[in-house]
């Protein structure tokens, strides 16, 4: 594998200029994936994101993805999921069931730019942090809510997870193999969209505030964002050409598909999926697991690319077949072409096949499994994975910020331990005395361990 110099921002300028969102303070009441993914984007650019959990209200992800075969001093700090999406944030644990805890939230909101939450609709108002109450304290505050559907009944009252919202938002219907039923996404697809929408809403409101001088309340519906992702299908339906479920095929180009490739062997001699090179993922004991085939995604968009594909596969017969010279003909013969391509890809790893096809100008790429990504040559060269110190693991691997600003080397700081920054935030942001903070700890308004952990 080529080890080129990491491609990253100019480190020399790193500390000279303030980070793009430096000075923006966000009170983050969100949990699980959607909200934290969004506030991650803001924290990655230097916003001061104060994530607030509670002694009896920990982020659900803290109890997930903790490796089972190890002993941790504080297992709730060892969640891989939590550490990835909550890096670069400060962490507090405040009991909002107590008046003193609710007061802390309100006082923080009074000196913050943003409060963002994804409780069920109505909850923050009951707690006393509704927009009307907060704007009286701080007219510049921007409050963003992230409901799955909206705050209007009846849909406000239905618990909704990614797969539910994806169905109601129309994407599941359009997903699926050709000739097959609707299909769910492999991830809770709407969640990162909701987080992205939340971050964008914050930024748009900040821009508007430059002109108006005041904040606002913004509701970001995951379902409505999903509609935006399928807008062309909704247009197609209304103009009399309803969209079809195409699976891996294209309605406009052929051939296109995902084809089986030979398993690859990594440095330890054991098989890994999709043939990525380098040291990443989880090497098993040499040769003890059955080889997992790779997959290659290919699409031929132009007739030139079709000829290049034939040449690469050494299939003069296909190149010479007049019927296949145009996309119409290739669409008719798609099954036959799929078999031909699969016959070729099966004889080589996905990475080798992709390299050969790319050299000929044909769009092709291996299907990367998550475990293959740390070994992907492009991600490695771009320094996309960072290794951070971690109190429970010694070290943990986290992804780099996606929005790469020239002139800034955006750093990654380990996610907060539970309640890690209680004292720091109260003292430095709210000016609480040490005695006051001690009393809050004694009264259980603050915690550094989840209750009954």
């Amino acid at each position: 594998m080529s080890t080129t110099t990491p491609v990253s921002e100019d480190a020399a300028a790193a500390d000279a200029a303030p980070l793009p969102l430096a000075g923006i303070r966000v009170v983050d009441l969100t949990m699980v994936w959607a909200g934290p993914y969004g506030t991650k984007l803001l924290a990655d650019l230097g916003a001061e994101v104060i994530k607030i959990e509670g002694p009896a209200r920990t982020d659900l992800t803290r109890i997930l993805t903790i490796p089972a075969n190890r002993d941790f001093d504080r297992p709730f700090d060892a969640s891989r999921y939590f550490n990835e999406y909550n890096r670069n944030k400060l962490g507090m644990a405040v009991d909002v069931q107590q008046p003193a805890g609710r007061a802390i939230i309100r006082e923080l909101a009074a000196v913050s730019d943003v409060l963002i939450e994804n409780f069920r609709p109505g909850v923050i108002k009951r707690l006393g942090f509704g927009y009307d109450e907060l704007k009286a304290l701080n007219p510049r505050i921007i409050v963003v809510s992230l409901p799955g559907f909206s705050s209007y009944p009846p849909e406000a009252s239905i618990p909704a997870y990614g797969p539910n919202i994806e169905q109601m938002g129309g994407l599941a219907y359009l997903n699926g193999y050709q000739g097959g039923p609707p299909h769910k996404s492999g991830i809770s697809y709407g969640d990162p969209l909701a987080g992205l929408g939340g971050a964008a809403a914050v930024l748009l409101a900040l821009l508007q505030r430059e002109r108006t001088g005041v904040g606002q309340y913004v509701e970001v519906s995951q379902r409505n964002l999903l509609l935006g992702m399928i807008g062309d299908a909704l247009v197609a339906h209304q103009i009399g050409s309803p969209p079809a479920r195409n699976g891996n095929r294209s309605p406009a180009y052929a051939p296109q598909g995902v084809y089986p490739a030979a398993p690859a062997r990594n440095a330890t001699g054991s098989a890994s999926a999709s043939g990525s090179t380098g040291t990443g993922g989880s090497p098993g004991p040499g040769g003890s697991e059955p080889p997992v085939p790779g997959w290659l995604a290919v699409s031929v968009v132009t007739d030139d690319q079709w000829r290049a594909l034939c040449q690469t596969m050494a299939r003069d017969d296909l190149a010479a077949d007049e019927q296949l010279a145009t996309v119409v003909g290739r669409m008719r013969e798609h099954d036959r072409l799929d078999a031909a391509i699969a016959g070729w890809t099966s004889g080589r790893t996905a990475d080798d096949a992709a390299r050969q096809l790319q050299a000929a100008g044909v769009p092709a790429a291996p299907v990367r499994a998550p475990a293959d990504l740390p070994g992907d040559a492009n991600l490695v060269a771009r320094d996309f994975f960072r290794t951070l110190p971690h109190p429970e693991y010694g070290e943990i691997r986290i992804t780099a910020p996606v929005w790469r600003f020239d002139g800034h080397r955006l750093g990654v700081r380990t996610a907060p331990k539970f309640g890690e920054h209680n004292r720091e935030v109260l003292a430095q942001v709210l000016g609480y005395s040490a005695d006051t903070i001690d009393a809050l700890e004694r009264d259980g308004v603050l915690a550094d361990r989840p209750r009954q952990s």
Partner: protein, 409 residues
């Protein structure tokens, strides 16, 4: 009183993919003046359907109509010096330029960093490409299926016993469009503060890899993924899966805290105490849920979900969505004219706020605004526009004319 948050901002779009297109559309809706620079043959999405039956044409396709609502169209041939001069002049009068032109072609189109910085010191740029501007894959050809494959999300989607599955259309680009939008807004904020334009670079592969839920963080650290986190199709658990119903499909996706309401909803509250019994859940319980769903319509399942507060849903089709009064009530729709179909509904504002106005015009005809933009913004006289038109080849040619910027993605 609502106002347009991006009133007064100008955005130049030089791109052919959905990531830039959709981000720019949202910005147009929120009040920015979005100028889409098209090559003489037109943006490639004009040739992508679906089209109305018997009405194929560069103004009528669903892709063009949706992704480019709200924008102005200026035709420029960036392979010509005259065209590049115009785009630089426009850059000097704009706050933002969004592009997905391959890094290797930037110089040739006048979109290199130095050229843009000279043209507009206040201009911020967001650049999005399949693999990033720099790296060993920077010059790889890409398409919607390769983008979805190479960042990790495809491997988790589809049935476990066959090839993995791509999502509808180009979800990798559409996801990336929200990154382009966010990065652009962050750049505008940072530029105002720093007193100079910002340059932001985004890789679609990284967009994908950053959103791998639990599987990513686990696998990146060498943790083995349990079966339930691998590719598992539509789910086949009694409490996590898609089920057939009388008039389509529904979903039951139940987390621990919802189990009581779920079992009440399906009329079997007594089953709650058996959730620890794997064999029962996979067998008899799965059968009970399957039959319960099969006996009901989508609407009946939804009404039950509302009544009991249970996480059940239905697979909505376009017709359901367009007619749904709950969706309409959120104010998400806008109506725009389509040249063949008349007034149609399109998703409008992604955010709901009393302060943020959002409105959309129809997607522009090819080059409809070229003369007005050149005259009003750049003071180019009418005769000169004619001359430039000859030089730059602005006469709308057949859409089949290949333009180097036009690699369909």
């Amino acid at each position: 009183m609502p106002d347009y948050p991006l009133r007064g901002f100008r955005v130049i779009e030089v791109a052919s993919g959905e990531a830039v297109a959709l981000a720019a559309r949202v910005m147009a809706g929120y009040g920015a003046d979005v100028i889409k620079v098209e090559p003489p043959g037109g943006d490639p999405s004009r040739g992508v359907g679906p089209f109305p039956p018997a009405a194929v044409g560069p103004e009528a396709g669903a892709a063009w109509h949706y992704f480019h609502g709200g924008k102005r169209s200026v035709v420029l041939d960036l392979t010509q010096a005259a065209g590049r001069q115009v785009v630089h002049a426009l850059a000097g009068r704009s706050q933002l330029l969004l592009t997905d032109i391959p890094a290797a072609d930037r110089d040739a189109y006048g979109l290199d960093r130095a050229g843009l910085r000279a043209a507009g010191p206040d201009l911020s740029v967001v650049s999005v490409t399949p693999y990033g501007e720099r790296g060993p894959y920077a010059e790889w050809s890409a398409s919607e299926i390769t983008e979805f494959a190479v960042g990790g999300q495809m491997s988790l989607m589809g049935d476990p016993d066959r090839e993995p599955l791509k999502a509808f259309h180009n979800q990798a680009e559409c996801q990336a469009s929200l990154h382009v939008l966010g990065a652009a807004l962050a750049a505008l904020l940072a530029a105002a503060r720093a007193g100079e334009g910002q340059y932001v670079e985004i890789s679609v592969q990284e967009v994908q890899a950053s959103a791998l839920e639990a599987q990513g963080p686990m696998a990146f650290n060498g943790d083995e993924l349990p079966a339930g986190l691998l590719r598992m199709g539509n789910g086949s658990w009694a409490t996590w899966g898609q089920f057939q119903c009388r008039d389509g499909y529904v979903g039951c996706f139940v987390n621990v805290m919802n189990l009581p309401s779920f079992f009440r909803a399906i009329g079997h509250p007594e089953l709650l105490e058996r959730v620890g019994d794997d064999e029962f859940m996979r067998g008899e319980c799965y059968k009970i849920v399957t039959e319960w769903c099969a006996a009901r319509t989508k609407q009946e399942v939804y009404d039950t979900a509302v009544e009991f507060g249970a996480p059940m849903s239905y697979v909505a089709e376009p017709a359901d969505i367009i007619a749904n009064p709950d969706i309409a009530r959120t104010g998400v729709w806008r109506t725009v004219p389509h040249p063949v179909a008349g007034w149609i509904r399109v998703p409008g504002p992604p955010f709901r706020s009393d302060e943020m106005a959002f409105d959309l015009t129809a997607a522009p005809s090819l080059g409809a605004d070229t003369a007005a933009v050149l005259h009003d913004l750049l003071g180019v006289a009418a005769e000169e526009i004619q001359l430039l038109a000859g030089q730059a080849g602005w006469a709308a040619r057949n859409a089949a004319t290949a333009s180097p910027a036009a690699g369909p993605r």
